[in-house]
């Protein structure tokens, strides 16, 4: 995780310096995996319930970009960054959102560990729902750490006719209370000032003798300087706390009447049993159509969703590569001479005497075109549509709607969020399974993503290759993958009788996505792809070319031939692409292109490649998230599924 220290030492982010951010330091979606491996000791820890905007505040403080979305659980682990103020560096940590310090789920356990390792705490509350957020505040007060309360979304509260007397609240709690709007930076400077003004211990000790933050009404943790087991001092007298919260809210908050807004009407409509279901269908269909429309436009300048495009404009990455890189490579090809070693490595094989960016397979031709010309445009349009769904707040509603269906498959409605993310890239998808409760849920969801959810890179290639044979074969590939997804989830459901926790989630209000947050999120996701995927694509194309020329693949192909040709009905040459799929699936599918496959073989090949070994990045994340034993189990399920599907397709198609 990178810190962004380019700020002028005297600068603290705030409204005065809005828009003046250090250059993008990308954290990608790969946050630190385990809180226990945590930072040494954080100077400032952000704690709050899910979806209160901690991540937005964190970005404000540190300049580190993080993924923020309008649904709970976006920050599944913690993120750290550095804030500079008055010439001193402060380590700021953003804890995962938690409703309570009772360690019921992983997020809460992580937060509790982080609190023990912190000097000061900023407790972020949602000003529009004070009474729902104060229970956590009281639990934090009982920890005896220096604490400031940040009342976030105070603009939205004003807008909804909710007035909160921050001074009265501060008096009630005995700690400073600062209203802020993390989205715009309003009040953030004051928050930082009052946080740094807190007396912070040099070492972490639980007893903070006489710091002003201590609440007089609450019993002090029954210890003095000695650390007790975590659970011992974290249970408060619940009923007393709830009574107190009711009283506090009544004294500090005034509600005035306000009219129903358009967003609220839409909220009602979207949870209506009938209209909401229709809306869900329309939304999902529109999202897929939009991804395809935008993707095809960016690649080929074609406007259209199905079949022949309605309109073709001189635009797109295909044209750009042909016009700009084409002539250069043609000249290079002339110099190197077709058939030579360097020619095959850099430019690849000529197709009908021409360089074909899709099929030539040199490092400079297909190596650049596949990731940048095909995959990136699709990833762009996919993440744009997904981010809109995330930030508007529609995604959690979709999850609630699908909960019942997903339950029949042994999954939680929220499993739809990691699954949709997996359609972009399996890596963040599998990481996002942490928002699910229970080890078993995570195992099932992660396994399903790694086997049956094709990432955007793979889909871009499937649409490009299989789509040439018509809409039918393309629909067949998606249909088969969906059937595999269903079959595996049902099979897993019936092999386990484990209790599946029921859905219980807060549905966030609809919010207009902020273009700035949207742009930051897109940038993080896409630049992460370019940085991480491009080297692997170039490397794997180089490796494949070398192995080809050394004749190594011939030996491998011989060994795998019986299964691939007899059982799956694929040509012998398909062994290589299947092996390359372990590195990058999009590249592997590109290798199938010049093989002159029948439509049946192409459909089978695409499905098998999608299911076969996850690409190297997914593989690593899968093992990291599930652990070695469950990772192996997941791979076993994958191999069995590939074997069965391949054989079935050969028989049935």
């Amino acid at each position: 995780m990178q810190a962004a220290d380019k700020r002028n030492p005297s600068e603290i982010p705030g409204q005065a310096r809005r828009g003046d951010r250090p250059p993008a330091r990308v954290t990608n979606e790969r946050q630190r995996s385990r809180a226990t491996r945590g930072p040494t000791i954080s100077d400032i820890l952000l704690v709050g319930q899910p979806n209160v905007g901690k991540s937005v505040l964190f970005s404000r403080l540190t300049g580190v970009r993080t993924i923020a979305s309008n649904y709970p659980g976006t920050t599944v682990s913690y993120t750290q960054g550095r804030m500079r103020s008055g010439g001193t560096n402060y380590l700021v940590v953003d804890a995962p959102g938690t409703y309570s310090l009772e360690p019921l789920d992983e997020a809460a356990r992580a937060a509790v560990d982080l609190i023990d390792e912190s000097r000061r705490i900023i407790n972020v509350l949602d000003a529009t729902h004070l009474e729902r957020h104060l229970p956590l505040t009281f639990e934090l007060l009982a920890q005896g750490k220096p604490l400031v309360v940040a009342l976030n979304m105070s603009d939205e509260a004003r807008h909804r006719g909710i007035a909160i007397d921050a001074q009265a609240l501060a008096a009630e709690l005995g700690v400073p209370v600062v209203p802020i709007v993390a989205r715009t930076g309003e009040g953030v400077r004051r928050l930082v000032d009052s946080c740094l003004a807190l007396p912070a211990p040099q070492e972490h000790r639980l007893d903070q003798g006489g710091h002003p933050g201590h609440h007089p009404h609450l019993q002090r943790p029954p210890h003095g300087g000695v650390r007790l087991p975590k659970s011992a001092h974290r249970h408060l007298d619940r009923d007393r706390v709830w009574q107190k919260i009711g009283g506090t809210v009544q004294r500090v908050q005034t509600l005035s009447h306000h009219h129903h807004s358009f967003a609220e009407r839409l909220e009602e409509l979207s949870i209506h049993p009938l209209w909401g279901s229709l809306l869900a269908l329309v939304a999902v269909a529109a999202a897929f159509a939009l991804v395809r429309l935008l993707g095809e436009f960016l690649i080929a300048g074609a406007v259209g969703v199905f079949g022949e495009p309605w309109l073709e404009l001189p635009f797109g990455t295909e044209l750009a590569f042909e016009r700009l890189l084409g002539p250069l490579l043609a000249r290079l090809s002339g110099i190197l001479g077709a058939g030579g070693f360097l020619h095959r490595l850099l430019i690849g094989t000529l197709i009908d005497g021409q360089i074909d960016f899709m099929q030539s397979f040199g490092i400079l031709s297909s190596g650049l075109f596949i990731p940048l010309g095909v995959v990136l445009p699709y990833l762009f349009s996919f993440y744009l549509v997904l981010s809109l769904l995330e930030d508007s707040g529609y995604l959690p509603r979709l999850a609630v709607f699908l909960d019942n269906l997903m339950h029949r498959l042994g999954l939680h409605g929220y499993a739809i969020i990691p699954t949709l993310l997996g359609l972009g890239c399996n890596v963040p998808g599998i990481m996002a399974t942490r928002i699910l409760e229970g080890k078993r849920q995570r195992f099932v969801a992660a396994t399903l993503i790694s086997i049956a959810v094709p990432c955007a890179a793979l889909q871009a290639m499937i649409v490009g290759l299989v789509g040439q044979r018509g809409l039918g074969p393309l629909a067949l590939v998606y249909g088969i993958l969906f059937a595999v997804w269903l079959a595996i989830s049902l099979a897993l459901r019936f092999t386990s009788r484990e209790f599946r926790p029921e859905l219980l989630v807060e549905i966030p209000p609809y919010r207009l996505p902020s273009p700035r947050a949207l742009a930051a999120k897109m940038w993080m996701r896409l630049s992460g792809f370019v940085r991480e995927a491009l080297p692997i694509v170039l490397g794997s194309i180089a490796a494949v070319n070398l192995l080809y020329q050394l004749g190594l693949f011939e030996a491998l192909a011989g060994a795998a031939e019986p299964v691939v040709t007899r059982l799956w009905g694929m040509p012998r040459e398909a062994v290589v692409p299947l092996l390359v799929g372990i590195l990058r699936k999009d590249v592997a599918l590109g290798l199938l292109a010049p093989l002159a496959l029948t439509t049946k073989q192409l459909v089978t090949g695409s499905v098998l490649l999608a299911m076969f070994f996850p690409c190297i990045a997914t593989f690593v994340v899968l093992f990291r998230e599930l652990g070695f034993k469950d990772g192996l189990k997941s791979l076993g399920i994958m191999l069995a599924a590939v074997f069965v599907t391949g054989s079935l397709l050969n028989l049935v198609l």
Binding site: E102, L104, P273, L274, G276, V400, G413
Partner: protein, 75 residues
Amino acid sequence: MDRPLTEMEAGQEATIVAVHGGRGMQSRLRSMGLAEGQRIRKLSALALGGPIVVLVDRAQVAIGRGMARRILVRA
């Protein structure tokens, strides 16, 4: 009359009188603001036995049907 949340009409208001469940479930519900004495409004019961959506403290919460069956309310 006390009845489960599942049998309440959508659009009606009621007060929670009891939550039948273990400590884990009680505490999960409570962290969402759903506890005895809390006034709620049922907004919707989703199709095909899907979750129940209620308004509690002006926030929408979706509750799985099995859990909702164990929440007793009084009009």
